[in-house]
């Protein structure tokens, strides 16, 4: 939701980044305020996933210019874990499997790392269990998942629900959902979207990275941005997504190429 006079959560200015010497982001600008839900759409290879990974601090991506301010702090100077601890969360497009670590232990370690930074006491297994049971409801997850190894043998939908469960526990200020909808059937998509909607508050912000407009029927964005060739080329309200769905990306690309050329 758009909230009057709310503070800026994330401010991205002229961000450029490369991977193995190949420029991918070529000047991204984006401003996200508390309470807002933004969606970044774009064709394959436009740089949307790179953008989310750069925000989360993936070591394979090298920032070559621009700045990213998260709640007044220079995000680019922070280690990935510091970003997480200060409230940035990324739901992975392909959540990793970690054999030998139970989901419950993993969630508790993550939860406690956030608490430690907040100056709160770390929770033992017993107290944590109570909290996690409650959060399972958000994504309608069976408690038996807690005793299985992290994501090991999970279906695509189960992995994505597990990501949202982590989001529910970590209560981030900024949640970046990287193609959380891709590969999901409609039932799983509804559960995931419903979970995200429950977690959206006037104090946090959500950035959806998606290839498909379908997700936006269930999580309604306040702003839609179109990314192409490493730039945000146009922005609008939720109706932009519908137009993209019916007309495809080509018309945006054409219109904006000429616009950029005119500048």
């Amino acid at each position: 939701m758009i909230v009057e006079n709310s503070g800026t959560v994330l401010s991205v200015r002229d961000l450029t980044a490369e991977v193995e010497g190949t420029p991918i982001l070529k000047g991204v600008n984006l401003e996200i305020k508390a309470g807002e839900i933004h969606a970044i759409m774009g064709p394959n290879g436009s740089g949307k996933s790179t953008f989310s990974k750069v925000l989360a601090g993936h070591p394979a991506y090298k920032v070559t210019g621009g700045e990213v301010i998260f709640q007044g702090n220079n995000l680019l100077e922070m280690e990935p874990e510091e970003r997480a601890q200060s409230g940035v969360f990324m739901a992975f497009q392909y959540p990793l499997e970690i054999p030998g670590v139970t989901n419950l232990d993993f969630l508790r370690v993550a939860y406690n790392s956030r608490r430690k930074v907040q100056g709160l006491e770390e929770l033992d297994a017993f107290d944590f269990d109570e909290i996690v049971q409650e959060k399972l409801e958000v994504v309608k997850m069976n408690p038996t998942f807690l005793n299985r190894s992290v994501n090991e043998g999970f279906s695509g939908g189960e992995k994505k629900r597990n990501e949202i469960l982590q989001m529910a526990l970590l209560e981030p200020k900024l949640a970046i959902l990287d193609e959380t909808d891709s590969g999901l059937d409609i039932d799983a998509l509804k559960i995931v979207a419903n979970g995200v909607n429950q977690l959206a508050t006037p104090d946090n912000a959500i950035l959806l990275i998606t290839h498909y407009q379908r997700l936006l029927n269930y999580i309604v964005p306040d702003f839609v941005h179109v990314m192409a060739d490493g730039r945000v080329i146009t922005s609008g309200g939720k109706e932009l997504a519908l137009e993209l769905e019916s007309r495809g990306y080509d018309w945006v690309l054409e219109e904006n190429v000429s616009e950029v050329g005119a500048k």
Binding site: A56, G57, H58, P59, A60, E79, P80, E81, R83, A84, Q85, F89, M90, F92, P95, L96, I98, P99, G100, V101, F106, V109, A110, S113, R114, V117, S149, Q166, L170
Partner: protein, 455 residues
Amino acid sequence: MSIQVTPDLNQVGVVSSVDTELLSLYQTQSIAVQEPELVSLLQAIRDRAAETVQQSKIPTTRDEEWRFTDLSALKSVNFQAASSSKPNLAALESLLLPEARSRLVFVNGVYAPDLSAVTLPDGIIASNLDGLPPAYHSQIKKYLAQLPGAQEVFTALNTAAIADVAIVWIPKNIVVETPIHLLFISTASNTPIVSQPRCLVVAESNSSVTLIEDYFNQMTNLEAEETEAEVGEAVYFTNAVTEIWLAENAQVNHTRIERDSPEAFHIGKTAIAQARDSRYTCTAITLGAKLSRHNLEIFQTGEQTQTILNGLTKISGNQLADTHSTLALNHPYGTSLQQHKCIVGDRAHAVFNGKIFVPKPAQQTDAAQLNRNLLLSPKARVDTKPQLEITADNVKCAHGATVSQLDDDEVFYLQSRGLNATDARNLLVNAFAAEIINQIPIPSLQQTLLKTINL
């Protein structure tokens, strides 16, 4: 700059004289048993083994079985027989397992009755040779040094030097409720010492027992912080042999932990005989020693045996750890499940060779073997060789080996959830190790070992 020319120490003549020095080590160890009947029995066994030793050579990397494990460093040290230094009980406290109410302690291969404690129901024996009831004296010779593989040079060297034996004997139909802890301590000293502990376990029919066989260096494990530098110098050689006999339908759960000093040499033999319907589990953890070799040999003597072999090697620095296992199935309906994992850091080198023999009579055998390796540094090295020889035609045998590194994406995933890079790597390495460590039936030991695994 000048170039020094050193004589080539690998000339045949030089090697053989160094060989002789190492192979004459048995002569320095005298029998530590009082009972005359046992003394003469031991003397006969020692003499036979001494003959074998005299005809043996220390293997070189030209021997297939020692291809990756170069013993020249071991041969170049001048070892002495151990002096009788003894740690006090308080110093051992941190190593005692609350779950194990009985323990036998050997210091530099010599029985330490004042450090040992045995609380077992009547009839169950856990003692050194002198503590063995006379009724068992005549039975000893049926078991001691009677397993195949006794001719192997280091086993023979140990046998030729038997001073005493740690004995665990479980009579028929007895289930031992609490684990028995066998501690073999080496004390650090300025002169390199050799100790050759010997252990014999007999589980009679339908009996069941849990054993922990534990090798460590007193100084490294007890006062690690203060004496670390000093212990870095502690060179010693442990040449251990353990024989376990499982009678029909017996069950033995065996944990073997090698946490010797980082400068030590450790060569260990675990030889198992499994009669029909018996169940044997070995969880072998290798952490210490500059050079270690574990020879694990299982001989099936009857049908429908079950063998579970879990192995974990975690080494770093310049350590070399070699595990050679042999599973000889000669009867039908045997099952075996082997999983051996190595975590190798720095310039360390792990070796795994797993032989499984399934000859014609061993029909309906179900054998699986998996070796998984995690390399933590670009200079770390693993040599792995599954070796299955199958001539039976109605069997199920599977094997596999993997070598991997810590995945950057996995580390990043954990970092993105708030763990720092070190904690993230530790969690992943721990998870890799936990699969083996969690097989140890002693919770306190699991905890201790998991802490040791941290990078």
